[in-house]
């Protein structure tokens, strides 16, 4: 079965995130008040073949740990849903 996997990668909490800070300041410049704790990361989407969702998630986790995210400076989370749905 094929699963649609979406990985969200963000700078690790507590590490300096100048990009997030710059976006936060830009939002304030547009007078969006109350927007805080802004962080900029990346999203990666891929199809993964696996017998069930748990195994697809485990595969994606291993991919994140070895390549997609930098374990020193980034955190990630993973969404899994059947490919082709919505």
């Amino acid at each position: 079965m094929t699963w649609r996997v979406r990985v969200r990668i963000l700078p690790r909490t507590g590490l300096l995130d100048p990009e997030g800070q710059a976006v936060e300041q830009a939002l304030a410049a547009l007078r969006f008040t109350g927007a805080s704790n802004v962080h900029v990361g990346k999203a990666i989407a891929l199809d993964v073949a696996a017998p069930n969702a748990d195994e697809a998630r485990a595969k994606a986790r291993a991919m994140c740990e070895q390549l997609l995210a930098n374990p020193v400076t980034e955190d990630f989370d993973i969404d899994v849903e059947p490919a082709g749905s919505a």
Partner: protein, 231 residues
């Protein structure tokens, strides 16, 4: 001293690195990243540039290049390995050096001289400098902010793994630290001291014809190290 200078798609300043080694009295040659042999090299230089377009993260894809396995073996045997700029990023991504290089704190590409304080002189790449000496060479990078968890940073300090720190006003009206690197770190080494990564470009200022050869001694150090090692 035979030095392999690795070429990735998107490398830059590799001729400068080769010439800097030659000027210091060593032999240097290029090795393509798809090769699997270093051709009998005693040491390796990973040059600067933008290997694989910096896709995903700087250095993240280059670490899978076939030549990296030979570099790992040479490094494990104690062979000197130097990563300059993108080469530093590759060594971090490959897990050969601790930490990571993130987007500059100012979010802009920075190209200017920096002053570097020598924190360690017993590496193959800094033994021709004096402890505490400050020298000036250029940086040119967008992802040069050294980052690591506090525990790793404390370990680096305890083991004297910080080789160079940004220090002093190389450019007027600009901060000494060009990219927001934590603890002003410009260069680190592994625990054994034979692998060194630095964001600055000593190879770009290694010829007196350019007005300064402040970076020359990085390469002189390497040649000197090999003479000391074989004596």
């Amino acid at each position: 001293m035979r030095v392999a200078v690795i070429r990735f798609p998107g490398s830059n300043c590799e001729p400068e690195s080769k010439r800097a080694v030659e000027r210091a009295g060593g032999e240097a040659y290029f090795v393509w990243h798809r090769d699997t042999s270093l051709g009998g090299a005693d040491a390796v230089i990973l040059p600067g540039g933008f290997s694989y377009g910096d896709y995903l993260r700087s250095g993240a894809i280059a670490r899978f290049s076939p030549i990296m396995e030979a570099i790992r073996r040479l490094a494990a045997d104690g062979g000197p390995v130097l990563g300059l700029c993108n080469g530093f990023q590759i060594l971090c991504e490959a897990g050969l050096l601790p930490g990571a290089l993130r987007r500059n704190a100012g979010l802009k590409y920075v190209s200017r001289p920096v002053d570097l304080r020598v924190e360690r002189t017993d590496t193959p790449f800094t033994n021709a400098y004096a402890m505490g000496e400050v020298f000036r060479v250029p940086v040119g990078h967008g992802d040069g902010r050294y980052a690591a968890p506090d525990a790793v940073l404390d370990e680096l300090d305890a083991n004297r793994q910080v080789v160079l720190r940004y220090s002093g006003p190389a450019a007027p009206d600009a901060p000494a630290n060009p990219n927001g690197s934590v603890r002003d770190i410009a260069a680190v080494c592994n625990r054994e001291g034979n692998i060194v990564g630095m964001m600055p470009h000593p190879e770009r200022l290694a010829d007196a014809a350019l007005g300064s050869d402040a970076g020359h001694r990085v390469f002189e150090s390497l040649v000197r190290y090999s003479l000391l090692a074989t004596r």
